[in-house]
Amino acid sequence: MTPRITDVWVYLSASPLLGLTLTLLAYQAAYWIYQRAGFNPLLNPVLLAIAMLVTALILTGTSYAVYFEGAQFVHFLLGPATVALAVPLYLQFDKLKKLALPLVCALLAGSVTAIVSAVGIAWLLGASESTLLSLAPKSVTAPIAMGIAEKIGGIPSLTAVLVIMTGVSGAMMAKYVLDALRIADHGVRGFAAGVAAHGIGTARAFQVSEQAGAFAGLGMGMNGLVTAILAPLLLVLWRLI
């Protein structure tokens, strides 16, 4: 790619500055809307920001690869942010310790439900095999999910998108599902959001309360480990049937 540097646009589109700045601007605009709407879960800021950016990239004919040159700096922070989850986990550890058995059982039930129902529904509706395999790890955080997809024969980059779709839909639906079940405890609410909707569910839980956020972070981390083991095992069972 050797564009003739004759105008500002060509210059800018070749530098990481634009992708990075656009990401921050879009997210802050999205967050402003979300805040103005009283943190209504249906106006999820991740969804709004993605919609704005995809529209802008398509209108300007910019490829995802060029955009990601700049956006990778934001993407990179997922690593240290994951490590940072150790802090709320530590602060809530006394509460978590007492709940070890309910947490582990709920995790296993939620994790199996996520994998089996996603693959089962898509299979019933006639999805292709590579889509099915990419869907299996959809409830866990992107880096783990992509690793699982690769191992079981899915498409890692498609899995990343399905993971984001799951996270966004979980963050949007969690309040309504949990209210309908009349579950009030912030620990339970957060844990369910983290298990089913990984980091985006966790981000939403942190916006509700620190307790919900810490339980969500725990659910996300534990489900990452459990799904990495369960998804390949369930796949073997599926093939046997």
């Binding site: 997210y27 991740v46 920001a49 995809v54 990239l57 990601f68 990778q72 993407h75 922070l77 997922l78 690593g79 240290p80 942010a81 994951t82 490590v83 940072a84 989850l85 150790a86 802090v87 709320p88 986990l89 550890f93 509460k95 709940l99 309910p102 709920a106 039930a109 439900t113 129902s117 529904i121 898509a122 006639g126 959809k138 880096p143 783990i144 690793g147 699982i148 980059s157 998108v161 399905l162 984001i164 779709m165 839909s169 639906m173 579950i183 009030a184 405890d185 620990g187 339970v188 844990f191 369910a192 959001a193 298990v195 089913a196 909707a197 659910g219 981390g221 990452g224 480990l225 990495a228």
Partner: protein
């Protein structure tokens, strides 16, 4: 702030190195999370700058998923071709998973109804 950020990166780095050496199926940052957590437990305390930096990073956790999410544009053809199975699977499965996780946890915590768990939560917060 700078020191705390360095701590996070160092733990991530240790995690990545361990994963590479041991060939673990888990990403490096998750190992870094576990190691930092163990360190905090052993040390028995948390420095204020680390707490503030961690909270600062986690407050904007949702921002960090935006770049990967924009990748949806690369998969438009497949997603529009199989939109019904994909959308149904994602929406129904996510709602089911939230419900099952929450119900199992509530039953095992108390075997009672929601109002009691809320009361216990206030007790726990105090």
């Amino acid at each position: 702030m700078l020191g705390a950020l360095t701590v996070l990166l160092v733990f991530q780095l240790i995690g990545e190195v361990l994963v590479q050496f041991a060939g673990l199926p888990i990403p490096g940052p998750v190992i870094g999370l576990l190691l930092l957590f163990l360190c905090l437990c052993v040390r028995g305390g948390l420095a204020v700058p680390l707490r503030d930096t961690a909270n600062g990073v986690l407050q904007h956790l949702s921002l960090l998923f935006v770049p990967a999410g924009v990748g949806v544009m690369v998969h438009f053809p497949r997603i529009s071709g199989e939109w019904l199975p994909i959308l149904a699977a994602v929406l129904v499965s996510t709602a089911l998973s939230i419900a099952v996780t929450a119900l199992v946890m509530r039953v095992l915590m108390h075997g009672r109804d929601g109002s009691d768990t809320a009361a216990d939560q206030r007790e726990g917060d105090a």
